[in-house]
């Protein structure tokens, strides 16, 4: 069953077309990668999916509902959450609080309930703390929970972003370059974590990634964007040998030289 269906998405800024008629179907329980050279429109595409930009044209169906034009918070409440290319944590908050913020859409305490400290609010707070700790343990950050987010090392910040996204209990998580700036060891760990998101938590994953080794190991399907247009889509093996993809990455003439350079 398709969890996400983006149909003919186009996004224009003034005269610039950042995303041009891109369609993407994501099956529930799969891991899908969106790749492409810098400036291909991948992040803009994510921003359209999560409601930060409204698409100029096209529709997005998520879990059977049309979510085109909904506000980002409504989309998150329906079950799509994301991380950012350049990490965007709430720096002055603790690790634990970052995760608690992620839970916002799943908590229901209203103004008056909070003011009167009703038992339901207290129970909810307790439960959310438990849940946040669980998530932190899942990404192996529980021991850091009282640190301020800004004091975490880089790799931990990436994992915290994932934990924060998980806190909204998403059905679909969008990861924007989750291994950017990592060394091979950290990259391997991150790859593993992404796989566990799907295998253990049953969350569907869409990621933007530049590291071809990561893409080729974990994705079940790959979509390739170039200049805002989808130029290829398929299984990793198909993408690996697709001449248009090689051309997009390495320029004309490189296609003849084969595949290895794409991977490197």
């Amino acid at each position: 069953m398709a969890l996400l269906e983006a149909k003919h998405i186009t996004k224009q800024f003034g005269g610039l077309t950042a995303v041009n008629d891109v369609s993407l179907t994501v099956e529930a329980g799969s891991i899908v990668s969106v790749i492409g050279p810098n400036g291909a429109g991948k992040t803009t595409f994510f921003n359209v999916l999560t409601g930060i930009y409204k698409p100029t044209k096209g529709t997005i169906i998520f879990d059977g509902k049309d979510i085109t034009g909904l506000r980002p918070d409504q989309i998150t409440a329906l079950g799509i959450c994301r991380t950012f290319q350049n990490i965007r944590l709430f720096n002055a908050m603790t690790v634990l609080e970052n995760v608690l913020v992620g839970m916002h859409t799943r908590l229901h305490a209203g103004l008056w309930q909070i003011l009167f400290g009703t038992p339901s609010v207290r129970a909810e707070e307790r439960a959310s703390l438990e849940r946040a700790r669980e998530l932190l343990r899942f990404v192996n950050l529980d021991h850091q929970r009282n640190q301020l987010a800004r004091n975490l090392p880089y790799g931990d910040q990436r994992r915290l972003e994932i934990a924060r996204a998980l806190a909204s209990s998403p059905k679909l998580i969008l990861l924007d370059e989750p291994t950017a700036g990592m060394n091979p060891q950290e990259t391997a760990e991150a790859t593993n974590l992404i796989r566990r998101l799907r295998d253990e938590l049953g969350i569907t994953v869409v990621l933007i990634e530049h590291d071809m080794r990561v893409v080729m190991t974990i994705s079940e399907r790959i979509t390739v964007l170039d200049y805002g247009t989808k130029i290829a889509e398929g299984l990793p093996e198909e993408i690996r040998s697709n001449p248009r993809v090689i051309e997009a990455y390495l320029g004309k003439g490189a296609a003849a030289h084969g595949v290895e350079r794409v991977e490197g």
Binding site: T50, I52, R71, P72, D73, T76, A77, C81, R82, F84, R88, L89, F90, N91, A92, M93, T94, L96, E97, L100, V101, G102, M103, H104, T105, L107, A109, L111, I114, L115, G117, V121, E125, R126, S128, L129, E130, R133, E134, L135, R137, F138, V139, N140, D142, R145, N146, L148, R164, A165, A167, S168, E189, N192, L193, R196, E200, L201, G202
Partner: protein, 454 residues
């Protein structure tokens, strides 16, 4: 390595030792009680007005913060604090009316500053027109309790003072309503634009207050409204029971002192509750990174409006109290300088920090109403005795200079304020035994660590 550390620590070690000693066992209790006893005795034995008493009052307020920070049990803090504020201060107030007025004002500004702190400190929205909501509350009671109301609703008589209590709640609601009304159009704006627009809105309210004496006389224009109603007194019997007779003026003084104290306590409670809830976390998230906050599912406009409305509602209520306390209001009371004065309280104490904001309000009010005028009069006295002090040097006249320097210096050297908010302490009430029940989908920590490494 170890020796290095010791060398670095050495200059502070005497201080550290003293602190550990003062914080151990019964020492803090004894020290604080001694401090409290000395200060109370000084206040009650010599209740004259002068530089000496000024200093003792400062020490008294400092004592509040010492109690707040001291490593003692909560019950001790609460008991001592209550005795000092509810017994020592009022008795001193009966003996010397000047200082309790200053303390009442400080409490009022602390509550106002806490409201602004919700907007600026928690949600990160720089509101330069905050005093507008204060004005709305003040004019609300000012109009309804004086003959002004007859100009608007013909035949309606000014309300009796006992309506004041209801108007505290109405002030809250009207403040919140105006907060939403003014907030709705502007809260989509980015931070610095928002600051200028709220400043403009604040000015609009002031201009309206000045000009709405025509075509219908609503605000009585630049002359302002006088003889604003006060709530009826009911604490007289309490004093008579003790055989004390006090004048009505003194009684009102105590009345408003306790009222302000009560409202301040309520404000602290509300702000604290909100800050430690999903709403408070959402505000902080918005302050830290709006885009990330939206992506985490936080409804941006609704949360900002809520912050605006909460802040404005405190201001509305304090406005009602202010107009009854002063019995006179006019448009210049609510100018930009007042907004900036409240802002500098928040910034001095620490944006986002509740104790910091109260500290900031107390310091700024004391400086503004008590210490600077006192220094000015002492200087004038010296000058009369022939000490060459230039005539233009009158510290009481330079409020703007004071606020301005305060803002610049704080921004350059300590933008987080004197008592910064402490995020790390938040979780203290949840230090219960470790591994909570693990759900089926999530593996225990050790295992997940292993698999992440593998």
């Amino acid at each position: 390595m170890a020796t290095d550390n010791r060398q670095v620590d050495q200059p502070a070690s005497l201080w550290t030792q003293l602190r550990t000693m003062a914080g151990r066992g019964p020492a803090p209790y004894v020290l604080i009680l001694a401090y409290a006893a000395i200060v109370s005795a000084l206040l009650l034995v010599n209740p004259t007005t002068g530089l000496g008493t000024d200093m003792v009052v400062v020490l008294f307020l400092l004592l509040m913060f010492v109690i707040y920070r001291a490593p003692t049990i909560l019950a001790f803090k609460l008991t001592l604090g209550t005795i000092l504020l509810a017994v020592v201060m009022p008795v001193f107030g009966v003996l010397n009316p000047f200082y309790i007025d200053v303390v009442t004002k400080a409490g009022m500004f602390a509550a106002l500053a806490l409201g602004l702190n919700v907007v600026v400190g928690f949600a990160g929205l720089l509101d330069l027109g905050y005093v507008a909501f204060f004005a709305v509350g003040a004019y609300l009671w000012g109009i309804f309790s004086t003959p002004q109301i007859s100009n608007i609703v013909s035949g309606m008589e000014p309300l009796h003072g006992s309506w004041f209590w209801l108007f505290l709640a109405i002030g809250l609601a009207v403040g919140a309503f105006f907060g939403v009304l003014l907030g709705l159009p502007v809260l989509r704006l980015r931070g610095d634009y928002l600051a200028i627009v709220t400043l403009g809105l604040g000015e609009v309210i002031r201009v309206l207050a000045t000009n709405l004496d025509r075509p219908i006389n609503i605000t009585n224009g630049a002359q302002g409204i006088k003889d604003i109603g006060r709530p009826p007194l009911f604490i007289e019997p309490v004093f008579q029971a003790f055989g004390i007779t006090i004048s009505q003026v003194q009684e009102y003084r105590l009345y408003f002192y306790f009222l302000v104290l009560l409202v301040l306590a309520l404000t602290v409670f509300v702000v604290h509750r909100l800050n430690n809830s999903r709403i408070g976390r959402a505000w902080t998230a918005i302050r830290e990174d709006e885009t990330a906050a939206i992506a985490m599912g936080i409804p941006l406009v609704r949360m900002k409006l809520l912050a605006f409305a909460v802040g404005a509602s405190f201001a509305g209520t304090m406005g009602v109290i202010f107009s009854a306390l002063q019995t006179f209001i006019n448009p210049p009371t609510f100018d930009l300088l007042r907004s900036i004065g409240i802002l500098s309280m928040v910034i001095l104490g620490g944006m986002g920090s509740i104790p910091g904001t109260i500290l900031g309000a107390v310091i700024v009010t004391l400086l503004d109403l008590q210490l600077l005028p006192r220094i000015a009069s002492e200087l004038a006295a010296l000058q009369r005795r022939g000490v060459p002090i230039p005539a233009w040097f009158d510290p009481a006249q330079y409020q703007r200079l004071l606020f301005g320097l305060l803002l610049i210096i704080m921004m350059i050297f300590r933008p987080e304020g004197l008592l910064p908010e402490d995020r790390r302490r938040q979780e203290l009430h949840h230090d219960e035994p470790e591994p909570a029940p693990v759900s089926k989908t999530v593996k225990p920590a050790a295992e997940s660590a292993q698999s992440a490494e593998g």
